[in-house]
Symmetry: C2
Subunit: 334 residues, 2 copies
């Protein structure tokens, strides 16, 4: 399956195909210098499979985890590009999860003011979430993604075969982003989740989620307005992630973060879906701590906060509410 | 005079007007948090005049000179943005020369993946050269502008009054970029230089140069092809700049760099114009050193080098020539 993300002269394809990692040399232009970026949590064979298909590969493996997603690691990627004499005609390929994609995408965005970037996401979360959209960034001074760019990939390869090496908790966390896209943009996909078919029909889940996301991104590439709908579940989710000290996975936090943004009967339906996916449905932490982390979030704007709510499956609305009201809603759920 | 640079939804105006610095509050939206960035070489009153017109100014003054244009100084600008809690609705204003504009423009480009940027260039060089185009960057590992972005300003204010505090050597260096634009794109402007009217008609020189540059940038915003014409004089110029250890000003190096790119009778006409502007017409350094610095330049591509030549005033062509041939031409001139 191929999904085309239509963004004028930045239009690109997402190829979703079992085994496409082994066909990277056919599907991408690797007949040049290629910085292949991966992390220590990704099976080394994946990046090696890609590097073996490049004319001049330079392989970089950074330490796995969000803590690597910083300006220092980004600069080590720039060092490699400079030292190996990469020109504007060369490229960067990420082979890994969201951290690898975000950080190497930002290196590709900034080096020589932008060189080609290919993304080969290897976690379900990154296949569903970061393979469409072109948001690349690093964390800085305790803020997530605060330094970055919009830099669309030239092509994305999604190989569902790589998911076989992913543990089940990671798979579930990835599904949370698909549930998010279903709730705000694809009722049929939500029903597929309710029928318990998601694990068996993972390619369809990926394709439908990306399609729903692409429809949003095509209308608002640089997050001027509409695109903020993709933050559904993330306002609270990011705060939970911070407060949990990253002991919860991003997808697990998004799962939790969606609950205060819906009311019954959708909340009951969502809880049932999350449980069927082995995702958390309540958090025993301190709500006030989460509220305070949210106030620290980059999207803050005075005492009020703008959130995305879902009052009907497959649709959404933006609501600006006082922090306190949101806090009450959270206390009800958590 | 106002020049509109037409780049779709990134279209912006350059206002060229005596005294417009004092009208910044009317001409720009400063009713928000504003990072006002200047350097120690710019009269402090200019940035203060702007800051006084902002609702919430944060003033940063870095040390003057190309050596400040690095990732570290850029990070100190990000620090200010983070610490003062700048949001997507806030902005950055550069008040200074090309270094201030390039570095603060890149901070605005990367912070939250891009916030509004206004440029108030205060040297003739930056008024003529960097106020149109959106190229922002810092130097890294000895390479000029190797890390950056294309980030168009929201508006540019060019106040010719500020030139009264600029020394004559800086004025001449700025004129070199105008001579460049004249040679490759505006024959009438070149004739204005030949008549010795440039210093008396500086606003017209700025306007015509920017207009010629805008025509190029509008056709090729991200330097995919045509825009490289703006490198006329820069391939050799950058190398001279490096080899001279920055004892020569950028514009002086561009003046020298143009000479090997033209032949008689244009070379004679160009020499006469450069002399009338008190710009250098020969360099007593080692040509081989310059050639070797050029090989190190980011635009290298094997043994050959692509340069821009001017065989008729007001027009240009791209030529790919062996390094050796270019070296011979340089030895003839220098």
């Amino acid at each position: 399956m191929t999904l085309t993300v239509r963004l004028g002269d930045r239009t690109y394809d997402v190829v979703i195909e079992r085994g496409c990692l082994r066909r990277a040399g056919e599907l991408l232009n690797l007949n040049r210098k290629v910085l292949v970026v991966t992390d220590s949590g990704v099976p080394a064979e994946y990046a090696k499979t890609v590097a073996d298909q490049c004319r001049e590969p330079v392989l970089v493996t950074f330490e796995q985890g969000e803590k690597s997603k910083n300006v220092q690691t980004w600069m080590t990627l720039l060092d490699q590009l400079v030292e190996a004499g990469f020109t504007r005609g060369d490229c960067v390929v990420a082979v890994g999860g969201g951290v690898a994609g975000d950080m190497s995408g930002f290196a590709a965005a900034a080096y020589l003011r932008g060189i080609d970037f290919y993304n080969i996401p290897t976690t379900l979360l990154s296949q569903i979430d970061s393979s469409v959209g072109g948001k690349v960034a690093v964390d800085y001074k305790g803020y997530k993604n605060i330094v970055g760019a919009f830099h669309q990939p030239k092509r994305v390869l999604v190989d569902p075969e790589v998911l076989k090496t992913l543990d089940s908790r990671q798979i579930s966390a990835g599904m949370a982003e698909a549930v998010k896209m279903a709730l705000i943009g694809d009722e049929e996909l939500f029903e597929l989740f309710e029928r318990g078919e998601a694990f068996d029909r993972v390619e369809e889940v990926i394709y439908r989620s990306l399609k729903a996301k692409a429809l949003v991104v095509e209308q608002d590439e640089t997050e001027g307005g509409l695109r903020r709908v993709l933050n559904f579940g993330h306002t609270v989710g990011h705060a939970v992630e911070t407060v949990s000290g990253y002991s919860l996975l991003h997808g697990e936090c998004v799962a939790l973060g969606m609950l205060p943004m819906v009311s019954d009967p959708i909340r009951k339906r969502l809880s049932a879906v999350l449980e069927s996916l082995n995702l958390p449905t309540f958090y025993r932490g301190d709500c006030d701590e989460i509220i305070s982390a949210m106030a620290h979030d980059k999207k803050r704007d005075g005492k009020d906060i703008t959130v995305v709510r879902c009052n009907q499956v497959g649709s959404f609305e933006f609501c600006t509410v006082p922090f306190d009201e949101l806090a009450n809603e959270m206390k009800e759920v958590f």
